[in-house]
């Protein structure tokens, strides 16, 4: 199934690997921060409602 990349295999594969890795890391960090901030905000809003 894998195409014969010939002598350029290293170049092609490493560019795919680097690009996909960067995209995945970006998405993962964004999701992680999103979850963290959402939770922190909820905590603070709960506190504010209790003291409110």
């Amino acid at each position: 199934m894998m195409p014969d990349l010939g002598k350029y295999a290293e170049a092609v594969l490493s560019s795919y690997a680097v690009s996909l890795a960067l995209l995945i890391v970006l998405v993962w960090l964004s999701l992680r921060r999103s979850a963290k901030v959402a939770k922190q905000l909820e905590d603070i809003e709960q506190k504010a409602r209790k003291n409110g």
Partner: protein
């Protein structure tokens, strides 16, 4: 469609509510396009006569490069909207977009350099296009750093939007300067595939799908990140109010 109706999304709460519904859709579309496009391009396209299998790199390099520029343009527009209409969502969207643009620039640079290696025998060439992207990366870094350095949200939004404006002018200037600087050396041979060249259909269609995938990816991710920024800003405001008792 009434364009004025778009302004209602400038309201942070409305933005969060609307994106709640829309974000999953964009995410799924992005994944589908990316997977289809990349698999099509990687497995089902032939080699190029001159460039061999390295032509497969265009499915990453070209969309990333396009996004690197378009994200900056989006930041420019949203910065202008902030300056003129003071919609916080706009300023926060610019802040959210910047790291995405920076990563796109890095992908364009990395794939461009890796592509250059077998073609040029060198890991880096000061080709005008690559050099311009390197400068663009520096602009992204400066913009992100300025946001991080300033505590007050409104001041940060104001300063970074002015920086974006001034930076855009200089980025354009740099593009011409860099072309002038390196015109003599690599005559006619640019590392990236120009769309105006004959990109054969067999390459063009999967490329289009990949470009669409990257665009959708950006939209989904910037919506996610803007939501985060809106929440973070609200959190800072609540904390400040709490501190003041």
């Amino acid at each position: 469609m009434n364009l004025n109706a778009l302004w209602q999304y400038a309201n942070p709460k409305k933005f969060i509510q609307t994106t709640e519904k829309v974000l999953p859709l964009f995410s799924v579309l992005a994944v589908v396009c990316l997977v289809v496009g990349l698999i099509w391009g990687f497995f089902f396209t032939p080699e190029d006569y001159r460039q061999g299998s390295t032509v497969k790199i265009i499915y990453l390099h070209v969309p990333a490069a396009l996004m690197a520029i378009n994200v900056w343009l989006m930041m420019l527009v949203t910065s202008l909207i902030w300056i003129v209409r003071r919609h916080h969502v706009s300023a926060l969207a610019a802040r959210a977009a910047a790291p995405i643009g920076a990563v796109m620039t890095v992908i364009a640079l990395a794939t461009g350099a890796i592509w250059g290696q077998p073609m040029w025998g060198t890991w880096w060439a000061w080709d005008p296009r690559l050099t311009s992207f390197l400068i663009l990366f520096l602009f992204y870094l400066g913009y992100i750093a300025l946001w991080e350095a300033i505590e007050n949200d409104d001041t940060a939004a104001d300063l970074t939007s002015i920086l974006c404006l001034v930076g855009s002018v200089f980025a354009l200037l740099s593009r011409y300067a860099v072309n002038f600087w390196n015109q003599g050396l690599h005559q006619g041979a640019s590392l990236s595939l120009d769309k105006e060249e004959n990109v054969a259909d067999v390459f063009w269609y999967p490329l289009l799908v990949c470009i669409a995938g990257f665009v959708l990816f950006f939209i989904a991710l910037v919506l996610l990140r803007t939501r985060t920024e809106i929440r973070a800003r609200r959190m800072r405001a609540l904390l400040a109010r709490e501190r003041m008792g």
